[in-house]
């Protein structure tokens, strides 16, 4: 199978001796066209990879900030075809585009059709926060057929056996949740993240080479640097949404998003120096 744009991006940042910066935004937030502009600013500011969220009515893994962003996107009428359009625009910036989606919208769309359309839009794959490998037979087959990455999550509570199971099922990277909780910015990155990354690398084993990226709670440059010291990628989401929510108008929001990406981009470059 040829390399996906995600795999290429993570190989490039690794060769540069740094962690990748991965930014998240729900497609359609604050509306479909504006979300493309926000994502362009994220990439200009230094995001190597963008997670394009598929807004869902019942986001049980998200805290209040991303819930509000997703609700706004749904209220703006955002549908999976809009999400695919945002993916296409994201891929056109040169950043790798991944979809982040709860499972039911994919099941409803049809996993095979979803993967085919995502690949056609230039997407590299998808992250599925409420799908565990045991329930993923159809998803494994669909992503294999389309040559897409599939990112599963591990958590501080995952047993070693489950880390191995999840690592085996994942392609692109493994998403390590830094803490037990939902998305949202935190004052501190929990100490459990580093341990989880080490345990996940053990589970991946030698020669696996599968990257491990860390998300949940990362909201400033020093946290990004701290995580970049031991992870292959640093994932930030709520911080971007918050800047758009707080801004009096879209232009101000977009420039705040760009500066935030620049700040985090400095962090991921400082991590190993």
């Amino acid at each position: 199978m040829s390399q996906t744009t995600l795999q290429a991006a993570l190989a490039r940042t690794k060769a540069d001796g740094r962690a990748a910066l991965i930014g998240y935004l729900p497609a359609g937030f604050p509306d479909p066209d504006s979300s493309i502009k926000v994502i362009e600013a994220m990439v200009e500011g230094g995001c190597d990879v963008v997670e394009v969220g598929l807004p869902y009515s019942d986001p049980t893994m998200d805290g209040p900030t991303i819930q509000r962003a997703a609700d706004t996107a749904l209220a703006a009428g955002t549908t999976p075809p809009d999400v695919l359009r945002v993916v296409e625009a994201t891929a056109a910036t040169g950043a790798a585009a991944l979809v982040m989606t709860y499972w039911n919208p994919v099941e409803r769309y049809g996993p095979d059709r979803f993967c085919a359309d995502l690949a056609a839009a230039g997407g590299a794959g998808a992250i599925t926060p409420d799908l565990i490998p045991e329930e993923a037979d159809e998803w494994l087959a669909a992503t294999d057929a389309a040559g897409l990455d599939r990112v599963f999550l591990v958590a501080p509570s995952s047993s070693d056996e489950r880390l191995r199971l999840t690592a085996r099922a994942s392609r692109g990277f493994v998403y390590a949740a830094s803490l037990m909780g939902v998305t949202g910015t935190r004052a501190q990155v929990s100490g459990t993240a580093e341990k989880l990354v080490a345990r996940t690398r053990d589970a991946i084993g030698d020669g696996g080479g599968l990257p491990v990226c860390v998300g949940l709670g990362i909201s400033n440059r020093s946290q990004a640097a701290e995580v970049a010291a031991y992870a292959d990628g640093v994932i930030a989401g709520a911080g971007f949404c918050q800047r758009v929510l707080d801004a009096p108008d879209l232009e101000t929001g977009i420039s705040a998003v760009r500066s935030f990406a620049e700040e985090l981009a400095l962090g991921v470059r400082a991590g190993r120096s």
Binding site: Y56, S57, D58, D71, A155, S158, M180
Partner: protein, 416 residues
């Protein structure tokens, strides 16, 4: 599809991963898997532990008041085609509904797991009240999530939970009803799973909740089966129950599933009618999907977004249904029908006036269904209907609905 939907009366279900045929399973974040495994393992041990069973049985007898009665309702039956109607009186349980059966079992399980804090969702407030009650009894700290909309509809139950020492958190995101309260409880659980048990209130959610909650309500049908045999010398023709998430119905049905001559009927909340957009009938008017951790029937749009549900009864106002019901529906072992708000309210008043029993509006959906069933079965028929709760909490709704407030009547006061 015989291979997809094996005969429920002959198989062990669910499978080890919580599947009922193609339904059920565990669609939840990895962070919760360890906790779900712990609940599943602990329940496997507890249910086979004579000490645990004895403790739970003693509570059910001395605290809840089990066994609950099976009451014949002859005057109500006159409006049901003359079939014999037997009410399984879960309304007489302490706290006023079947919910206490599940709650006491899970509260004991919480202590067994060494956890000290309990969270739960509630719609009508019945599960919240039952949970707050069990936590008071067992010295557990208790937080109840309730949609803001429901805290208004069921203000008295909010006060009741607070009296019992629980913290009630109104949920003001999404549609502000039961489904959003469940979302919020899952968010709490992920963050506090170390010391917290999520005491789930119905047979929905990720494995093991559908099986665990069903097992804890099994007693309903088990008692009813021997009571109806004592009373009539035979098995009933039909067992009927209302279906929200589906716990009282699974409890009523489970012991009868192997009795293939007994028809099983679940009545969903039809709201304004299943052909409108205002109902909560997931099986009659929804489609298979994944919701709140399980594959099951759910009200959803073409893109898989959950649709808002509607029912006059807060306890049935839920856009999905437990996965075992989805499986029983596909297999044909249970028949599911929808009952409208208007039909339910008519049955609510009818039981009140003919038998002197004010039912919960949830249970009134089953009673309305029985009126139809009775007409189908005729005078030879025997029907057991699960009266899942009492109507004290619904007096406000009924007073408004029937215009009973200023001593008024609604004009249609035909004597029943």
């Amino acid at each position: 599809m015989p291979s997809e939907t094996p005969d429920p009366s002959r198989s062990e279900h669910p499978d080890a991963r919580g599947h009922f045929g193609r339904y059920g399973g565990r669609f939840s974040p990895e962070a919760l898997v360890a906790a779900l495994d712990q609940v599943a393992e602990e329940w496997e041990k507890a249910k086979n532990d004579p000490g645990f069973r004895a403790e739970l049985d003693a509570l059910l007898r001395d605290y809840t008041g089990r066994p609950s009665l099976l009451t014949e309702a002859p005057r109500f039956a006159e409006h049901c085609g003359g079939a014999r109607v037997l009410l399984k009186r879960e309304d007489l349980n302490h706290t006023g509904s079947h919910k206490i059966n599940n709650v006491l079992g899970q509260a004991l399980l919480t202590k067994r797991m060494g956890k000290t804090r309990v969270i739960a969702e509630t719609g009508a407030g019945q599960h919240g009240v039952a949970t707050a009650t069990a936590c008071a009894l067992m010295g557990l700290s208790c937080v109840i999530y309730m949609g803001e909309e429901d805290t208004r509809r069921q203000a008295l139950n909010v006060a009741r939970m607070r009296l019992l020492g629980a913290e009630v958190v109104p949920v003001s995101v999404g549609s502000r009803t039961l489904k959003d309260a469940i979302n919020e409880a899952f968010r709490d659980w992920v963050a506090n799973v170390e010391n917290t048990h999520y005491l789930f209130g119905t047979v929905a959610g990720p494995h093991p909740f559908p099986a665990l909650v069903r097992d804890l309500h099994y007693v309903i049908g088990e008692e009813a089966r021997s009571q109806v045999l004592d009373l009539t010398g035979r098995l009933p023709d039909a067992v009927a129950a209302c279906v929200g998430g589906g716990s009282n119905a699974m409890g009523a049905f489970a012991a009868f599933i192997p009795d293939t001559g007994v028809g099983l009927y679940g009545f969903e909340a039809g709201g304004d009618g299943v052909t409108t957009t205002r109902h909560a009938a997931a099986i009659s008017g929804g489609a298979p999907g994944v919701f709140h951790g399980a594959r099951t029937y759910v009200l959803q749009d073409t893109y898989g977004q959950t649709l808002p549900s509607h029912s006059i009864s807060a306890g049935l106002d839920y856009p999905a249904v437990g996965p075992e019901h989805a499986w029983l529906a596909d297999s044909g072992r249970v028949t599911y029908r929808a009952v409208t708000d208007a039909q339910a309210m008519e049955a609510f008043r009818l039981l009140s006036r003919t038998e002197g029993i004010i039912p919960a509006i949830e249970s009134a959906h089953a009673l309305a269904g029985v009126r139809e069933l009775g007409a189908e079965l005729g005078p030879e028929g025997v029907i057991v209907v699960n009266l899942s709760g009492r109507g004290d909490k619904d007096v406000d709704t009924a007073a408004t609905y029937f215009g009973l407030v200023d001593g008024g009547e609604d004009g249609s006061g035909e004597s029943a």
